[in-house]
Symmetry: C2
Subunit: 449 residues, 2 copies
Amino acid sequence: MEVTGVQPPAWVQDAVFYQIFPDRFCNGDQANDPPGVRPWGEPPTPTSFFGGDLWGILKKLDYLENLGVNALYLTPIFLASTNHRYDTEDYFQVDPVLGGNTALRELVREAHRRKMRIILDGVFNHCGRGHPFFRDAQARRRQSPYGDWFMWEEEEPGYSCWAGCPGLPEWNHDNPQVREYLLSVVRYWLEEYEIDGWRLDTVEYLPPDFVREVYRTVKTVNPEAYVLGEVMGLGTPWFRHRALDGVMHYRLWEGLVHFFAEEVWDAPRFVRYVWHIWRSYPMWANFASYTLLGSHDKPRFLTLAGGERRKFLLAVAFLFAFPGAPAIYYGDEVGLAGGDDPDCRRCFPWEEVQPDHPILSVIGKLVRRRRETESLRRGGLKFPFAQGRALLLSRPFLGTETLLALNAGTKEEVLMLPSGRFREEQSGEFLSGTLRLPPYSFTFLKRVS
Amino acid sequence: MEVTGVQPPAWVQDAVFYQIFPDRFCNGDQANDPPGVRPWGEPPTPTSFFGGDLWGILKKLDYLENLGVNALYLTPIFLASTNHRYDTEDYFQVDPVLGGNTALRELVREAHRRKMRIILDGVFNHCGRGHPFFRDAQARRRQSPYGDWFMWEEEEPGYSCWAGCPGLPEWNHDNPQVREYLLSVVRYWLEEYEIDGWRLDTVEYLPPDFVREVYRTVKTVNPEAYVLGEVMGLGTPWFRHRALDGVMHYRLWEGLVHFFAEEVWDAPRFVRYVWHIWRSYPMWANFASYTLLGSHDKPRFLTLAGGERRKFLLAVAFLFAFPGAPAIYYGDEVGLAGGDDPDCRRCFPWEEVQPDHPILSVIGKLVRRRRETESLRRGGLKFPFAQGRALLLSRPFLGTETLLALNAGTKEEVLMLPSGRFREEQSGEFLSGTLRLPPYSFTFLKRVS
């Protein structure tokens, strides 16, 4: 079946994602904890386990639903030996420590009942050293049926492995049997467990034509399933190649860090940067990309902003006014801090969840505004004003127009509005001409004429 | 002809590149200056012309040869209307303002006589608005034979253009005639003018299979010609795809900036980062990539280092001890400063060229050391020590081993040497065990046992 011309699923541009690192979100069942589990909340090391599991996510679906989240992205959940599980040992088994396949079935069912989607992490570049095929291949080489499933090298450690990590032997994608095996994994969880898509790990390391095969396989099973790529560079080649619906938008993230967190760029520079990427990607890909302030691979945005809550919230406001599918990295909404990996993978501090939490309450409002405002999800993009540390972002949509006005500087700023009349959402006041904004503040406007 | 399995040309790992922005290097013939040329040395604006030309480069070949450079990369030289010439109007004509085709023929001849290679900038994603095919296509659309050579859109400006810049209409690479036209350009300059390769502009915007066609075309004409890609992200997909020999190593550049210029990383973090990329690329690609501290698209490294000469020189030492083809961006060797484009494109300050120039003299020595030391060009890579702001980089080669020891910090550091005996190149002294390095200093060692 030929699937070119397929558009990304429409639900993505209406999605609000929430990324979960399963070991650190919530421990729903202590009976399945791995041995040597650490006390919840202790600073994580590269090897510590905390016992979070899928039952824990299930328990917190109410919380996520209340927050307005309608899509989940889970980092790897299949059998593996590390806490991050990028070293898969069995692609057909959810790690028992996370609740096994049963818990996943339950989780998908409960999520779908709430009209919440769920995508899994597809780690198809490499497996773990403990994968039985690799163990057999390494032990028996030519005698093993899997001898040609990996790439043997003279140099240490004797086989091709991801970025030189011996724990992550790379699949030999030139072998059609390997491809068929990995594609059977792609199909299995879509067909049997009805997951809503795949986030593809380390896309830039995979042969491009294999990524396209994964894409086609997904779309053949379910054209409404989402294929999201972890791409650190420009997404353009992957879109040209029609191999992904969207990318994790690390390019946008870099701009957000420079403008909002590090404050090394002014607004015109930031807008120029964002506009450049916006115009470089096909429109379907802009609307189907996953926009983020954090992930398990980056220091927390709040930490990059020196712990300054107002800077962080301005970036959140920008993200939720920008096209694409905005994502919340678990814990960001309650001000969880953290530097580089593994520090950015701390346990979720559940005691922080209070209705008047100064970050949670603002993020909750931003999520709701986005869910309720079609122009913020479906509208075009314009930057009618950028000067000093202030800017206007506009989302025109079918004759309506919603604007985010923000001042990311230490001084009051006067923003020039486009011609016409606007209503400020907070105060309900009507405005035209200019808008004064206090330091580190934002507001939403609607065009009324 | 099938060309898979072709290896990058061996000369690349022995090359020391020099990048020239032709309008700003040297004005060799004032008779061909464009009207309104600005006084040499005035701060550049986005539209200023200074009259540099290929005759100027010819005049300075002695200077470059003395510096030890043996490969040139020129940003675009074909007929165009801007000073950067990324808006090609005639792919078969060197801009008369630069001296025309005659000057290029002379330049290649003179360069080759000195065993110097020369690569040109291949801008195949888009042309200039003034390209006659585009003008005809825009004027006559369906009536034009070029109506299908571009991609028409409803949105402003009415056609697909690079990153939304109306001055740079994008070619429709789905049209086989467009491909054949662009490939004829690729062939023409290789065959008729014997250039030594192409640097491909904005590779990430091109259809991957077209990049591969360019690669194969180049190798079919001359397997010894170099295909270098401007890739801002990871090079891995292009290497997997066998579409490039190497990339402009902006990923390495980012690490160099964080460690040497901004000093936000310590040595272990920097080494981890560099090692990760090193192990992510195929070895042939590591050795065939173009390593850089600056280009016409980035602020000057010296400027990023706050004008601190010692920080800049440490980064140069690292670059010239690292595998790949190190590049000098014109003027960097005499401490030319400059922020973001267009400031990083200032005129070369020829009055600065003095034998005792504190930067030029050190860079000259580093270039010579590399040219004379096979292990620095062909050796493997190890990092035997990294602590605080100090590190050891080792290049083992056929039983020899050359090490760069450096301290990029404000305090004296004691480095642990690997077991064995070493000779310090500067002093000729024999060392083992440890090495003390003053703040912001480096030295080279050779293993003697």
